[in-house]
Amino acid sequence: MRLEDKLFLDGFKPDEESHLAIKNMQVCREQCKGRPCLEICPANVYRWEGDRVTISYEACLECGTCRISCPDDNIDWRFPRGGYGIGHKFG
């Protein structure tokens, strides 16, 4: 089963603004070893496009794995605003 199809099953209520941000893109570009966020995120939220990381925060499962894996502590990770983000049906 494709990841996109799985994520389609989840109940998301995306906020207008991202709750995730890269603190300093220069660090991702020049300093980061391996860019683990690109591979490790269960929802594939992080992608490398050209010379920068893009964040599809709308599909974030809110586990927080990216922040723990970031070697340079370069992800500004907040919870989505109250009531926004994923809402579990089963949990």
Binding site: D10, R81, H88, G91
Partner: protein, 430 residues
């Protein structure tokens, strides 16, 4: 500013347990939950244990929306294409009041939250606690993401879960390292009840659990699992984040690989995936426990790292830590003293329970397996191969096969190495 006696951050098992006990003790309690209902952001495998849960919610199992009571627990050691399996089935587990249950957190937590509300606590959903209010080093309330969203209180119970940003923010701990946190993903896959009953050899609302090691996590420190719900299976996998990084694997790919394993695939045939979830598990154990109390606050549940990864226990530790913290708060209230010294009774009391004792027992377990990954690769391979040899009927005398197995095993690991492994297991697990 509105004031409560106590404010609980997070409506999971730990926070709800704490809120119920405090409300029953006469305190004016608010529970702040970021989801749009209690349970909306919660996830575990998940197994809920009856005895510890009853310490807070007596006879919950008679009414709560549980899935199945577990009558059989299976353990599988996997290689890419084979499995050695153990299981324990016991009719005692099929009799009331039962030992443990499979649950889906969104359903069961909202049921618990309703009981907490009936006990007198106020549950405030759709609200994120972004910081704690402090004056003179003492916690005096919370700041939420709502306009004019500050609330005052005598004591804050931090039950904000595995991804506890607040304990970091107030300096109780640093960002957890990648080898002390696991990432778990799971799918809830629906089936007709009769299919589950037949495939897993159960009847009524009996259920089973399967924990899978070895190739289940592609050799990483972690486990795969299948739990039977009433009309669905919870199928998932969890591994240390440090291992996922080292192997450069995506948790969802690891799960897909497990679902395709020849021993797993037939169990999932015809099912329809309904939900896909991810959550972290704090696996740092005893040595990662942050300071558990301070002036005006206590820390409970996953936020305090109360998980026994070796026995997949967590919800029980969460509830008991919530209860014991609440009892300490009630005594502090009698003294009108919410200082760190007064609240230190929480930790003192918790040390006398299985929560801290079990964490202490296994304090070196996760790092032991991390340093000795061959337990998850070499040994599952060896026992599966030995079984294959002995079960293959091909005219070779059994004595000869035995010799081949012993020789083959010693080629992979010397007698000294195996002795060291046994000693290591005993030292780190006993």
């Amino acid at each position: 500013m509105e004031k409560f006696d106590a404010i609980v951050v997070g409506a999971g098992p730990a926070g709800l347990a704490a809120a119920k006990v405090m409300a029953e003790g006469g305190l004016n309690v608010a529970v702040i939950e970021r989801g749009n209902f209690a349970g909306a952001k919660n996830m575990m495998g998940g197994v809920l244990y009856r005895q510890p849960t009853e310490q807070v919610f007596p006879e919950f199992w008679k009414e709560a929306p549980l899935e199945r009571h577990v009558v059989e627990q299976r353990v599988w050691l996997l290689t890419e294409d084979a499995a050695i399996t153990f299981s324990h089935r016991n009719d005692k587990f099929a009799a009331e009041p039962y030992n443990c249950f499979s649950v889906l957190r969104a359903k069961v937590d909202s049921w618990f939250a309703e009981r907490v509300r009936q006990a007198g606590a106020l549950i405030i959903p759709e609200t994120v606690v972004v910081d704690l209010l402090r004056s003179d080093g003492k916690v005096t309330g919370i700041r939420t993401d709502r306009p004019d969203g500050d609330l005052a209180c005598d004591v804050v119970v931090l039950a904000d879960g595995a991804n506890s940003l607040l304990t970091e923010k107030i300096g109780l701990r640093r960002k957890p390292s990648a080898d002390r946190m696991a990432c778990a993903v799971k799918e809830v896959i629906s089936f007709p009840k009769s299919v589950i009953d037949q495939r897993f050899n159960v009847t009524g609302y009996q259920g089973i659990t399967i924990e899978m090691f070895g190739a289940a996590t592609s050799g990483m420190v972690g486990t795969g699992f299948i739990y039977t719900n009433r009309e669905s299976l919870s199928v998932g996998v969890g591994a240390l984040i440090g291992d996922l990084m080292e192997y450069n694997l995506n948790p969802n790919d690891v799960l897909e690989r497990l679902k395709a394993h020849p021993a797993v695939r037939p169990l999932l045939e015809g099912g329809e995936t309904r939900e896909f979830l991810a959550h972290m598990i704090p696996e740092g154990g005893y040595d990662s426990i942050p300071r558990l109390f301070g002036d005006g606050f206590v820390v409970v549940g996953d936020a305090a790292g109360f998980v026994n990864a070796m026995h997949r226990e967590g919800s029980n530790m969460a509830m008991i830590s919530g209860k014991i913290a609440a009892e300490a708060v009630l005594r502090a209230r009698q003294r009108r003293d919410f200082s760190a010294r007064s609240l230190s009774q929480y930790e003192q009391a918790l040390r006398e329970t299985f929560v801290i004792k079990d964490l202490k027992k296994y304090r070196r377990a996760t790092s032991f397996f991390e340093r000795n990954r061959h337990f998850l690769t070499l040994y599952p391979g060896l026992v599966n191969w030995a079984a294959e040899e002995m079960m293959t009927v091909d005219g070779i005398p059994k004595k000869e096969k035995q010799g081949k197995i012993i020789k083959g095993a010693l080629k992979k690991r010397s007698l000294m190495g195996m002795a060291r492994d046994l000693f290591g297991l005993w030292r780190n697990m006993y």
